[in-house]
């Protein structure tokens, strides 16, 4: 409570003029800080490897070279990993939308006898978790999903958060839609697919984005269950492995100058390669992002209202 300023109109007017300018400067700086690492990575990936070891590259490559990309794109493992990442993303997204939207509809029907039980049990999973080891044992010892493609698909078919997002959206649709269809003799399955589902497109786009990004970005499932199966590695996991190797060399470089000389002499350029894989594995998200942008904010708000 600044009573002094409160009465001093001149000071206040002064603030009102300065504030928008300062605000704009802060926000522009923030955008710069947000984008800098991304642009910097792209610049490194397009720079000559040996030259990149000298560091100091900012927003534009110093010595242009597409060698890093050439070397990556000539590696069949990258194509295999991209195929794994892309296919699992598509399958998981479709399965999630199918199951979650149907379930959400059923749980908006007030007359449904099992509504309370199922909803409570599902929402509880957001707070209570069996934990990492019991889940690990379920997948490896009970279901034997390790070292298979299915470990990407089966454990990630449903998420309660997404159910809440879709349910909130459906609950906001006019009840009369369902009532009138029922009078016309339609069952719930038909009502859902023919009337509700088409109306849910915006919220389904949101959920699709969440699920697809989550699946595309996951690396830990590969690490835990499929680390020894090279043909099942995902793009993110390839990058994670590159990260581990360059980190080792970075530490070594710090420890002794010899190590740095070795890195340069071997003519491998782990930093630029790492940056190039980063760019390749980010590209799909960067391409899709602007188009789906308008959807996800609505989804976030829908989910958190009831969350």
């Amino acid at each position: 409570m600044t009573t002094a300023n409160y009465k001093d109109i001149k000071v206040r007017k002064h603030y009102d003029v300065v504030f928008p300018i300062v605000n704009t400067i802060i926000l522009v700086l923030l955008m710069f800080v947000t984008l800098y690492p991304v642009v910097n990575t792209v610049a490194y990936s397009l720079n000559d490897g040996t030259d990149a070891l000298k560091a100091g590259i900012t927003l534009w490559p110093r010595v242009w070279s597409t060698k890093s990309y050439q070397s990556i794109l000539s590696d069949p493992a990258v194509y295999q990993a991209a195929w794994i990442s892309a296919s699992k993303t598509v399958i998981i997204t479709l399965l999630n939308l199918f199951w979650t939207s149907m379930l959400s509809y059923a749980l908006t029907r007030r007359e449904y006898v099992l509504r309370k039980v199922i909803t409570t049990m599902l929402v509880l999973t957001m707070y209570i978790n069996a934990g990492l080891i019991p889940n690990y044992l379920l997948i490896t010892k009970v279901l034997h999903l390790q070292k298979s493609y299915w470990v990407y698909i089966i454990p990630t078919m449903f998420s309660c958060f997404n159910m809440i997002v879709i349910r909130t959206y459906i609950a906001g649709l006019p009840e009369a839609l369902v009532e009138s269809a029922r009078i016309d003799g339609a069952g719930d399955i038909r009502i859902f697919w023919q009337i509700i589902f088409p109306l849910c497109k915006p919220v389904l786009a949101t959920v699709a984005l969440f699920v697809a990004v989550g699946s595309w970005n996951s690396w830990f499932d590969t690490h835990l269950y499929n680390g020894s199966k090279t043909q099942l590695h995902s793009l993110q996991y390839l990058l994670k492995m590159k990260l581990a190797t360059t980190q080792q060399s970075a530490n070594a470089a710090q420890a002794s100058v010899d190590a740095l000389a070795n890195t340069a002499a071997s003519k491998t350029t782990p930093v630029t390669i790492r940056c190039a894989i980063t760019v390749i594995s980010t590209l799909p998200i960067l391409v899709v992002y602007p188009f789906l942008q308008r959807y996800f904010v609505t989804g976030m708000v829908l989910g958190s209202v009831k969350g």
Partner: protein, 319 residues
Amino acid sequence: MTNSVQGQNRHYSPKKKSTFSKLLSQWQLMLMSVPIFLYVLLFNYFPMWGWVNAFKDYGNRKLVAKGITPWIGLNNFKWLFSRPDFFQAIRNTLAMSVINLVFGTVSAVLLAVLLNEVRQKTFKKTVQTVTYLPHFLSMVIVVAMAQNIFASNGPVNDLLVALHIVKEPVFWLGEGKHFWWLVGIINVWKEVGWGTIIYISAMTSIDPALYEAASIDGAGRFQRILHVTLPGIKSTFVILLIMNIGHLMEAGFEIQYLLGNGLTAAYSRTIDIFVLEYGTQMMDFGVATAAGIFKSVVAIILLVGANFIAKRLGEETLV
């Protein structure tokens, strides 16, 4: 619960049917919901059976190989609490989640307030679009970028040296004492924009008449922020705080796992990483499960406690 279900039945069907026959008539709804319900039972509830492992001995390799795991009561828990590295993991988890919570909340509220003051729609949209972006990048990618940015010869060190804040480049990634703060900064970078969404939506529901009234009473921009905007997001703030306090034991493990290295291990090992190392590398499921249970129990106590405090303060609660 039974009462409310019956109440609904009466509301929707004047003819009183038994619950069972009603359920039969709802076979279509059951078809739509029961399969996924069974799926959740299998993947979320059935594994809880695995908690019994916490009371078994996985220490004797020969016996485990034969499939014999004797019951040892609370010995795994006793052993855990005699381990300095477990306390270290608890310390690291709490330190990083508190830093994340404070940094994350303050930065998101601050940015939301600043964005709320922007009158120019296109500029506001642009800032939002740009700052939401990092949320969608995987932690692997974020860590890859962080390794460039915080490298000994990277831009952060260049800037600090140029501004004469430090004399020598700082070895950000290799010194344990920096690790927690590095994680905090990277998390803010990744999530600050995304964190504003919920606050901005709370701000848009503030009655514009309040701002007008404040202006007429002679309140300037800062007074309006202080006395209208911030009180307007108070209940959202409290709910998110409760949720986050319930998640204090979740400092995340991806960033620590990927960014940590041998030099920073004493500061980067969280409870999750501890569980992973004991469970999936040393195959001591007993100790790992016990550590996991400890984490869950503390998390539930925190959630219930925070919820209770919120109730006492007269705020909306979660449960």
